[in-house]
Symmetry: C2
């Protein structure tokens, strides 16, 4: 299975109406505060890895996860090794990482509204310091038809799929500073 994902800058104001018009269903909203860490001796930017603590708040309350992302193993599908587990207390996990030499490098804070639209998940992201975005994603056995479907979906929302952004929010924030 491949994860196919397209991301664009897009004002949310009109998008919610257009999403309703094409029958998209609001699944829920969530805020995520992600802290990314620098390794004590490894340059994660160079090795294309990441270590992150995510604090997530939704209707059911707050949860914390710690995640390691390995380098791309397939650049076409942007597939990475990813290891993630829940953590009881985010502050303590942060203190443990800092005690052994990891330093907080950047924080990405976003509010996400998730919609279901057929096979696709559409997410309206408001990212602190960056603005408003839309993400369209799905999982599929084959990349091309899934990608075509995502492009059609964006066009049905009056968006230009040519304006896709490949950079992560973390990357965009680091570029901006």
């Amino acid at each position: 299975m491949y994860e196919v994902e397209l991301k664009l800058r897009a004002d949310h104001g009109e998008l919610r109406e257009r999403l309703a018009a094409i029958g998209a269903e609001l699944m829920g909203t969530v805020t995520q505060v992600d802290t990314y860490y620098d390794h004590p001796v490894r340059d994660f930017a160079e090795t294309d890895e990441a270590l992150r603590i995510r604090r997530e708040t939704d209707e059911s309350g707050e949860s914390v996860k710690v995640t390691y992302k390995g380098p791309l193993v397939d650049s076409a599908s942007k597939t990475r090794e990813e290891r993630q587990t829940g953590v009881g207390d985010g502050e303590t996990m942060a203190a443990i990482l800092e005690s052994v030499g990891f330093e907080p490098a950047a924080t990405v804070e976003k509010a996400r509204e998730r919609f279901r639209c057929g096979e696709y998940t559409v997410t309206l992201d408001r990212v602190a310091g960056l603005g408003e975005f839309i993400e369209v994603e799905t999982e599929a056995e084959e990349i091309n038809p899934a990608r075509e479907g995502a492009i059609d979906l964006l066009e049905s929302l009056d968006l230009d799929p040519e304006c896709g952004i490949r950079r992560s929010y973390l990357g965009l924030l680091l570029d901006a500073n």
Copy 2:
């Protein structure tokens, strides 16, 4: 508050009877499998720190914790900074640590029976590769009276408090290898 703790080698066979005779109450049993990690660049033996994943199984099920222990801040009371939080999945946490360069250095596996005896907790530890031990501990405002009480308790169990062991189980295991 100080934590006062005395530890001795002791065969458990006769001890359970003697504990019953002095009115000690069995609180529960637990098995703990502790994996200690080497830091990618820091020598934890030299800095007197530790990073550990503990998998604990008791009557209520299994739980996993990750713990950082800092160097001694007070050698008389053996006080250390300690930060510990629960983790959803121990294998994933281990994989995350290994991905960022930590290596499993030693495993300490023990079965513990805990008894309450007045102000003291008495623990019978059976440690894989090391044998059987007893630990007597309490928390107190003043070290000396608490220490005297622990000595009296050990004597009432026909044990010799002079044979106290200051080394941790991890230290004893590393010494043995």
